[in-house]
């Protein structure tokens, strides 16, 4: 407990549960923490628990948590030697990362260059293609005729999607199931695109009807040591917002897991990436298709922590100091199963936000239950920020044991005074498709609409 801290003082440029998560890691490492907060968050848990706190602006995030100058000033006046950006807000802002480092303060995350590279979706796909990571196959440019399209479609594999270059909102988009339908679909899409956008140009892309969202966690130090920590299945989404995440994915074989993990780790090493990062894929028919890389800590990182036994925030802080990983891919053992439920302050049916005062808060306890939440009895959930107020992470030796435990934990969870999505999770845990692990990225949307 007395060995020198890796940093003297870390400023946490975030709020809510993730600020608390980072604060806990700092405290467990013997590192001082500085909380920054808006005037709306003066009573927030991360502020109350931090060693120091600095008000950086009014409630609007643009004036506070997104206010790079205020956060950097706070770091300077508090003599912080590192900044952890959490997720959201400034976490993937390359300019902020660069600015922090220019002021001689460590940015606990990847380099500005890597954030910038992966923030440019075209450049990211180009890099990944070069690194041998599969991307969604397509024509790579406009197709003019059926003759030109046919061999491309054959190569992509049916079903293919005809998409308008100028398109959007589904217009000028046609799914082609078999070669016989290609010509007609091209004509129809062209006509529709011309009518809608005044531009009839179309291209071809692989059509994924029922993909899962699979993402691979990587961790790298400054010395070229890289490990992957398995995948997370985040297919349980509503309006592109993840609702439940689990690890490992019930859809992957061990071979697929090792294959995609190794690809992600190799690409990470190739680009000289540092810190944590996540390669996101669509997965269908046994194939992975790269979507994007998140150059930050993810909301759902605890499910990975649960199955690999690592503290990812601690590792992030460690590698930011220049410390080597200290273990190799062979040392990483994944075991058990973990599920995370994101609990939002929302009506569980209409999803209308429900900020307000928490009249009673009681978290479930016992074996295999982890709660990451900044709520407490008497706290008022402000209306200015994201509605996620708690993460319930449950682990078990098997997926089935994990889901049984999740069910009992959800039943114990009390958040009174505001509406939350706990009842939604209670419904989901009873759904056959979830219990069987047979759901794609569209399933939840249909479930909540049904």
């Amino acid at each position: 407990m007395d060995h020198p801290p890796v940093f003297h003082k870390v400023l946490i440029a975030n709020r809510g549960e993730i600020a608390l998560r980072i604060l806990r890691a700092c405290r467990e490492m013997g590192v001082q923490s500085v909380a920054v907060h808006s005037t709306a968050d003066a009573d927030a848990m991360h502020v109350r628990l931090a060693d120091e706190s600095i008000c950086i602006g009014p409630p609007q995030a643009s004036e506070s948590y997104l206010n790079a100058a205020a956060i950097l000033s706070a770091a300077i006046i508090s003599n912080a030697d590192a900044i952890h950006p959490g997720y959201g807000f400034l976490s993937e802002n390359a300019d902020f990362a660069a600015m922090v480092e220019e002021h001689g303060i460590s940015f606990i995350g990847p380099s500005a260059d890597h954030i910038r590279l992966m923030g440019d979706k075209v450049a990211a796909i180009k890099f990944c293609t070069g690194a041998g990571i599969p991307v969604v196959p397509g024509s790579g440019g406009p197709v003019e005729s059926e003759d030109q399209a046919r061999p491309i479609a054959e190569k992509i594999g049916y079903p293919v999607l005809v998409k308008a270059t100028a398109g959007g909102g589904g217009r000028g988009m046609k799914v082609v199931e078999t070669p016989a339908g290609l010509g007609e679909a091209l004509s129809a899409a062209r006509a529709e695109a011309m009518a809608a956008f005044g531009n009839g140009e179309v291209y071809l892309e692989k059509y994924l009807a029922q993909p899962r969202h699979i993402e691979v966690q990587v961790l790298a130090d400054l010395h070229g040591n890289v490990v992957h920590l398995g995948e997370r299945d985040c297919s349980m989404q509503r309006r592109h917002q993840k609702v439940i995440e689990e690890a490992p994915s019930p859809a992957l074989t061990q071979q697929q897991r090792e294959f995609i993990g190794q690809l992600a780790a190799d690409a990470t090493k190739q680009m000289g990436y540092r810190s944590v990062g996540t390669f996101e894929f669509l997965f269908e028919g046994g194939e992975f298709y790269f979507i994007e890389m998140n150059t930050r800590l993810q909301v759902e990182h605890p499910v990975t922590e649960s199955i690999c036994g690592l503290d990812l925030v601690r590792e992030m802080i460690r590698v930011a100091t220049g410390a080597p990983l200290g273990f190799t891919q062979e040392d990483v053992k994944l075991s058990g199963h973990a599920v995370e439920c994101r609990i939002n302050a929302e009506n569980p049916e209409t999803f209308a936000p429900s900020p307000g005062r928490v009249r009673d808060y009681h978290a479930p306890g016992g074996l295999g239950v982890r709660i990451d939440s900044a709520l407490y009895t008497g706290y008022t959930v402000p209306s200015y920020y994201d509605s996620m107020v708690a993460k319930l992470i449950v682990s078990g030796t098997s997926r089935e044991a994990c889901l049984m435990r999740l069910r009992r934990a959800l039943r114990e969870f009390v958040i009174d005074g505001i509406e939350t999505t706990i009842p939604l999770h209670q419904r989901l845990i009873e759904a056959t498709e979830f219990r069987d692990g047979e759901y794609d990225v569209h399933w939840l949307q249909r479930f909540v609409e049904g």
């Binding site: 502020v47 060693d51 600095i54 008000c55 602006g57 706070a74 006046i77 009895t377 706290y379």
Partner: protein, 157 residues
């Protein structure tokens, strides 16, 4: 009270007056006697209202311990209409350059637009100017002091 008979009359006015006093004074109990006559009124604090959840984090509420924020929490001047609060996080400069006189001192008369202090943030010196004419009656900050957003700087009456 003057009635000698067995059936006493409750002096509702007296109880109401005491209840008002209880509320007004913030007391929880008043016992009042006059000769044989005596009244005691009480109001138990409601648990929920009385509970200020301090403990989870008792260690730190305001981090910049050296700043005035902590001490000033109950300062009545914080509600003063002429109070100028810091619009940013930064470090205070009281004069344009080292060795030069301070922009303002207590007692100075200022006009709208006069610079009161500078706040350095990200190597930019931001002048904090008087929004209305008046007299400087209080200065909360001093040169080199770090300030957070909303921290009291100066009162111009």
């Amino acid at each position: 009270m003057t009635e000698p008979s067995e059936k006493p009359k409750v002096d509702a006015e007296a109880v109401r007056a005491l209840a008002d006093l209880l509320h007004e004074t913030g007391l929880t109990e008043i016992e009042y006697g006059n000769g044989d006559w005596r009244v005691r009124v009480a109001k138990t604090a409601i648990p929920a209202a009385a509970y200020t959840p301090t403990s989870p984090a008792s260690p730190a509420v305001s981090g910049l311990a050296e700043g005035p924020a902590g001490a000033a929490l109950t300062d009545p001047d914080l509600d003063h209409p002429g109070l100028i609060a810091s619009p940013m996080v930064g470090v205070i400069y009281m004069s344009a350059e080292p060795g030069q006189p301070e922009f303002v001192k207590v007692g100075d008369t200022v006009s709208t637009g006069d610079t009161l202090v500078l706040i350095e943030a990200m190597k930019v010196f931001n002048p904090i100017k008087a929004q209305h004419p008046g007299t400087v009656t209080r200065i909360f900050v001093s040169a080199g002091m770090p300030v957070e957003y909303g921290e009291p700087l100066i009162i111009v009456e």
